[in-house]
């Protein structure tokens, strides 16, 4: 072969350039020279120039000025010029370029050239960059060539037809007859091209597929010939006769046998033969076996054959070659849905592959392991998966974490196991879990009330050891805030008791607040938790007060807002604090938008704790309108949450333990939406007997609406329980009693019970109310009635 000297000199010059800048200089000079040469008339070195340009193009430099030269070279009568011209066309022109249309005519002429090598250039170029119009134009030519007598041309025409069919689907019909007859060829190249063409036609059109089913016996015959035949030097690869052709035939058989009993039967024996006889020591044999397995699993094969196929995959799993293990798992993944039990048998090997060094193998093993988790093997599988999580590569962590959550959700053998698992994931890979994990976990925790103590202890311990995993820290803060009283009590059935003082807990929360590792959202959680503790602890309320007031001037606007509001809760609305910071209600599993760890980003916003969190953040700046939105906090428009007083009685929690009562101003809390000046409403004592005092205050809501708040207090030395109030009003007045804040009055006025009554007096009659009081004290029941004739109004 004669080297192209000018080309090689240029390449040498470019390669000897020491810097990028130098290289650019050389290339610019060369391009200028090439451009000049292009403009000249026909000279002997045209192909060299174009070749140079193509080299420059491969280095990444612009070369579009060579497009027209390609067109000219293709039209040249010299083979050497045509060769480079067509190469240039394939590299520089694609169907999007206008210049590509200009070569259509040349291609057409060259397709009928006397020299087969010129014809082949045209065919190759058409198959590489032929646009839809060119294909439509030249399709009849290709069909003619398919029937030519020259094998060399026939095989090229076949693949050119494949390209045409891909570009213009309707032309498939044109090639079907010729394709059929090509199957009778002996030349492997032509045969291969024919099989590819038929595959393409069948994939595109179901009717063509039906017609070609008749070729199954022929294909089986050809395949048998390849498998059984002796050594053929021309096509042999490591003992397999023409594996490329074998694989293509197997793929075509797969398409023809799919969903068709008759065709599947016809190929059954052949597939069994290939599966058992193919030598699997080299990659090439495994390639054929792999294709065979895929075919067996896709057609309607008999069960014996299916078992054979899955066993081959099982053998692949034990192969030393990583590639083989990888494709085995890919195939098993496809059938894990349909042949689940068969795949389960290989679970051990698959789980072992989790420990493989190779990232691709690990990924496949992870996907397959997650698919194999079931109720029976959940415990052992989870152990392996958690082990994997601690050492898995970063890009797989999110997938592993969410897969583990899903599996835990579906098959958790016990609540405690579930919570433990989630906590384990959060400690190992907390940074990679999805956002909705936090609300999901919180929801899970609130639902398992018997484990509150255990959970909060565990989370507290986790918080002490590591505050860098945001999701974990957020959940821990939330739990400590909610169940801090359980934490401080010390004993817990499920874990060893540990003495936690209030200072310890506040220290932990403050660490989170001050740490630079904490995300803004996390700090919000911590601040809210600190605030909630003010109603659950007894001694260090002042410390909490000071923390909260410090953050009133925090740079983070979100934190500042919260702190200011909590400050207000301490100062102006101290009476409301207990009610506001009460235990959260149990979040129902079927709340709108509840996600099971599946991601839908929109749903994240609707999960309850998140919404409550959002409601909290809706609290506006001015204290006056704070009232209205506290309504959202406790009442919320859409959720099943009841207004606060009812909540207090349904959740089995400790009663409101601290001092201040809601007083008459719960009225403002639950009442109208207009901002009302919050001076305390005048109260009147309407009943005082036997140590029980009932006071009443009222507020006008509208022209005919009035809200009355009744407050009861117990000044005796013994507790009162089952305290209830009933009210009656004149006929035209409408009465609506809201749920009371509680039904027990501790001794010595430790706490009060309030109840709101909404009255509507459209006829403006003289308002009277009769109230019946009943309660139990020291084991005996008491009942009394009092009439109220006048209501204090503003």
């Amino acid at each position: 072969m004669s080297p192209s000297v000018p080309l090689q000199e240029m390449i040498r010059a470019i390669r000897s350039a020491r810097t990028q800048c130098e290289e650019r200089g050389v290339i610019q000079r060369e391009c200028a020279a090439i451009r000049a040469q292009f403009r000249q008339a026909d000279n002997g070195g045209r192909s060299h120039n174009l070749a140079k340009l193509l080299y420059v193009h491969m280095l990444g430099y612009p070369a579009h000025f060579g497009q027209m030269e390609c067109v000219r070279m293709i039209a040249s009568p010299r083979y050497s010029e045509k060769r480079v011209g067509y190469l240039g066309a394939m590299m520089l022109l694609d169907e999007k370029q206008d210049a590509s249309l200009l070569i259509t005519n040349s291609i057409k002429n060259d397709l009928s050239h006397s020299n087969q090598y010129v014809q082949s250039l045209a065919l190759c170029t058409l198959a590489c960059m032929g646009s839809a119009e060119m294909c439509r134009d030249l399709a009849p030519e290709i069909d003619r060539l398919l029937r030519a007598s020259n094998s060399y041309i026939k095989k090229k025409a076949a693949l050119c037809a494949v390209h045409i069919v891909r570009k213009v689907h309707d032309l498939g019909e044109l090639f079907a007859p010729a394709a059929r007859s090509l199957l009778a060829e002996k030349n492997h190249g032509v045969l291969h091209g024919a099989v590819v063409l038929i595959t393409e036609l069948c994939e595109r059109s179901p009717e063509t597929l039906e017609r070609f089913r008749k070729t199954v016996p022929d294909l089986v015959q050809i395949m048998k010939g390849l498998v059984i035949s002796g050594y053929s030097p021309e096509h042999d690869v490591a003992g397999i006769s023409d594996p490329f052709l074998q694989v293509r035939i197997l793929r075509l058989l797969r398409i023809l046998g799919r969903n068709n009993e008759a065709a599947s039967d016809a190929m059954n024996d052949l597939l069994a033969q290939v599966a058992t006889n193919t030598d699997s020591t080299k990659t090439v044999g495994n390639a054929v076996l792999y294709e065979t397995v895929l075919t067996v699993l896709d057609i309607k094969s008999e069960s014996g054959l299916r078992v054979l196929a899955v066993n081959i995959l099982g053998r692949f799993l034990l192969n030393n070659d990583r590639n083989i293990r990888y494709i085995a798992m890919t195939s098993l993944q496809r059938i894990v849905g349909t042949d689940h039990n068969a795949v389960q048998r290989h679970r051990g090997t698959i789980v072992d592959c989790l420990k493989d060094q190779d990232a691709s193998v690990k990924r496949r093993a992870l996907e397959l392991s997650l698919a194999l988790v079931s109720a029976t093997n959940i415990r052992s599988m989870m152990k392996e998966l958690l082990l994997f999580l601690s050492s898995c590569p970063l890009e797989l962590r999110a997938q592993a974490a969410s897969g583990i959550f899903n599996a835990a959700e579906r098959y958790a053998p016990s609540q405690r196991w579930h919570i433990d698992t989630i906590l384990h994931v959060l400690t190992t890979a907390g940074g990679d879990v999805r956002d909705e994990t936090v609300p999901n976990l919180i929801q899970l925790i609130t639902n398992t009330s018997e484990l509150h103590c255990y959970t909060v202890h565990k989370l507290y311990r986790a918080l002490l050891s590591d505050i860098s995993q945001q999701s974990l820290v957020q959940v821990a803060c939330w739990c400590i805030g909610e169940y801090g009283d359980l934490l401080l009590r010390g004993e817990c059935q499920e874990t060893e008791p540990v003495q936690v003082t209030e200072d310890d807990v506040l220290d932990a929360l403050e660490t989170v607040l001050q740490s630079h590792m904490s995300a803004p959202a996390t700090r919000g959680f911590a601040l809210t938790a600190t605030m909630k503790l003010s109603t659950r602890i007894t001694d260090n309320v002042d410390r909490i007060r000071s923390i909260v007031s410090i953050y009133g001037s925090c740079i983070d606007v979100e934190l500042q807002q919260r702190a200011v509001e909590y400050n207000a809760l301490f100062k102006k609305y101290d009476h409301m604090r207990a009610a506001v910071l009460e235990r959260m209600p149990v979040i129902e599993k079927n709340s709108p938008g509840h996600t099971n760890g599946e991601s839908t980003r929109e749903a994240v916003k609707e999960v309850q704790p998140a919404k409550v969190k959002q409601a909290e953040t809706l609290l506006p700046q001015q204290p006056t309108s704070q009232v209205c939105d506290l309504l959202d906090l406790l009442g919320g428009s859409e959720e099943p949450l009841q207004p606060n007083p009812a909540v207090g009685s349904t959740v089995p929690v400790l009663p409101i333990s601290t001092s201040s009562t809601a007083g008459g101003d719960l009225l403002d809390l639950l009442g109208g939406l207009e901002p009302t000046p919050l001076t305390s409403a005048p109260t009147v004592t309407v009943y005082e007997k036997g140590g029980v005092t009932l006071t009443l205050s009222s507020e006008k809501q509208s022209d005919s609406g009035l809200t009355v708040t009744l407050t009861a207090c117990n000044s005796t030395d013994s507790d009162i329980s089952s305290f209830t109030l009933q009210a009656a009003v004149p006929k035209s007045v409408q009465l609506h009693m809201k749920a009371p804040s509680g039904d027990s009055l501790p001794a010595r006025g430790a706490a009060k019970v309030t109840q709101m009554v909404a009255l509507s007096n459209p006829n403006k009659v003289n308002l009277k109310m009769r109230i019946r009081i009943s309660y139990t004290s020291q084991g005996s029941a008491f009942q009394d009635t009092v009439q109220v004739d006048s209501f204090p109004e503003h």
């Binding site: 193509l54 491969m58 090598y117 198959a127 494949v162 190249g189 052709l245 494709i327």
Partner: protein
Amino acid sequence: MIRFLLLFSRQGKLRLQKWFTPLTDREKKKVIRDMTMLVLPRPPRSSNFVQWRDLKIVYKRYASLYFCAGLEQHDNELLALEVLHRYVELLDKYFGNVCELDIIFNFEKAYFILDEFLMGGEILETSKLAVGATMEEADTLQETMEEYMSKPAY
């Protein structure tokens, strides 16, 4: 079908690029960049298959060159390894103990050989002998014409 075939050196320099689907220059550059970044950092004994977007990438390193092919979902990866190997064998037969420099200085020949082996993303000829024979004949044709053209016209 094979969507593309790339040859690049250990430093990421492109030695050959064959595209079997129409892509813009920008898209091609992106794919090349992605492939080099995907393949070059992989440790020596990893598996030769990688999932990238919706394609299966099959790559093999021969001496200082990486051969990288992008396959569609239904293609057989193990066979693709054989295809890459066959191409290397063809180059080796043609150039005699082929090395990277051969492919650099005779890149157009590398393309011609590829065009006799693959077409439209599918295998064209499964016989090594047949490809070798065709290349010889085509080269002879080219030389004959060149000799003829360069002879002085007496």
